[in-house]
């Protein structure tokens, strides 16, 4: 029973983390030019904005799908990649918030709304969820089981 609950919880977390990435990637795919503008508005790496706009939606889609449906050995790698992505997003939105830059988040394509402490908290929760998936899907050591003693 406890094992079933753990499996269901892990599956829910994977669907949650992967689903957020897939939805975000799909929405960003619609208007790459607008996404490049939103990235440039962060004023962190404006020269890299078009490159990030070109690759970020596909990266989110690939990583999100892998978190949800990839075979187990790949799920831990996907969870680590998701953690890295959410960590980068968290750094960007926190930097914009602390510098008082009044911009659209761009988290889910256009119309994501301004960056507030809620955006920062939401990214922190996603990082925690991705970290939990990584821990649950970590490679397990194969333990040598001693044969039962022959009487």
């Amino acid at each position: 029973m406890r094992r079933a609950a753990r499996i269901a919880g892990a599956l829910a977390l994977r669907v949650g983390v992967g689903g957020v990435l897939v939805v975000a990637g799909a929405l960003k795919l619609r208007a790459p030019g607008e996404l490049a503008t939103q990235i440039a508005n962060y004023q962190l790496l404006p020269a890299a904005a078009p490159y990030l706009a070109a690759v970020l939606p596909a990266i989110e889609l690939v990583v999100g799908l892998a978190v949800m449906v990839a075979p187990r050995p790949w799920r831990s790698g996907a969870a680590l990649a998701a953690l890295v992505l959410f960590g980068l997003f968290e750094g960007a939105v926190t930097a914009a918030y602390l510098r008082g830059i009044n911009i659209d988040c761009g988290c889910f394509g256009g119309g994501g709304g301004p960056i507030t402490w809620v955006t920062i908290l939401r990214n922190l929760l996603l990082m925690a969820a991705a970290g939990t998936v990584l821990w649950l899907e970590r490679p397990r050591e194969i333990r040598a089981v001693a044969p039962p003693a022959v009487p």
């Binding site: 795919l29 208007a31 790459p32 030019g33 607008e34 996404l35 490049a36 503008t37 939103q38 440039a40 508005n41 004023q43 404006p46 904005a49 078009p50 490159y51 706009a53 070109a54 690759v55 970020l56 939606p57 596909a58 990266i59 989110e60 889609l61 690939v62 990583v63 892998a66 050995p73 790949w74 831990s76 790698g77 996907a78 680590l80 990649a81 890295v84 008082g100 830059i101 009044n102 911009i103 659209d104 709304g113 301004p114 507030t116 990584l134 970590r138 490679p139």
Partner: protein, 179 residues
């Protein structure tokens, strides 16, 4: 753990390659070399403003607050404040639209659209230097030889010191959210 990192790097690499291929294949893909962020504040330093136009498109003028206030009375003039939201909310030129440097690109586009039917654009910041790049960018975006673009000399402090019309509070119609 090395295998996990390698798989994560592999997924990120696949995503990157896929993204570049899709972007190159689609017609509305972002240009990797010719992309120019449509920000209200260009990264490059603003050109030196001249007081009179000498080309097809008029240059940006710098006028004293009292002279700019005379222009404000024309209903075909639009005033733009480029200072941060807190400074704008504290006090601004009456009727000014808010277009801070960090505004989304959509706000800059909206400002250009607002110029339709107007013949004068008045821009100000905390000082002259803050407003000049925005004025130059809007001049470039509007591309209208008949549009007179003016920067208020000395910015809002000099306008305020001259006891000219001010108002306070956010600007809900500007599309720039205020906390």
């Amino acid at each position: 753990m090395v295998a996990v990192v390698a798989r994560a790097a592999c997924l990120l690499g696949v995503g990157t390659a896929l993204g570049l291929v899709v972007n190159a294949a689609r017609g509305d893909g972002v240009s990797l070399t010719a992309f120019a962020a449509p920000s209200a504040c260009p990264a490059a330093p603003a050109p030196v403003a001249a007081s009179a136009g000498d080309g097809a498109v008029a240059a940006v003028e710098v006028l004293a607050p009292t002279a700019a206030a005379d222009l404000c009375r024309d209903p075909r003039a639009v005033v733009v404040d480029v200072r941060p939201p807190a400074a704008f909310a504290e006090g601004h030129v009456a009727g000014a639209l808010h277009l801070p440097c960090a505004a989304p690109g959509g706000a800059a586009r909206a400002a250009v659209e607002l110029l339709g039917g107007r013949n004068t654009l008045i821009v100000y910041g905390q000082d002259t230097g803050e407003a000049l790049p925005v004025a130059e960018e809007l001049r470039r975006r509007a591309g209208r030889p008949d549009l007179r673009i003016v920067v208020i000399e000395g910015g809002f402090p000099r306008w305020s010191a001259a006891s000219l019309a001010c108002s306070s509070g956010p600007c809900p119609e500007c599309g720039v959210p205020h906390e």
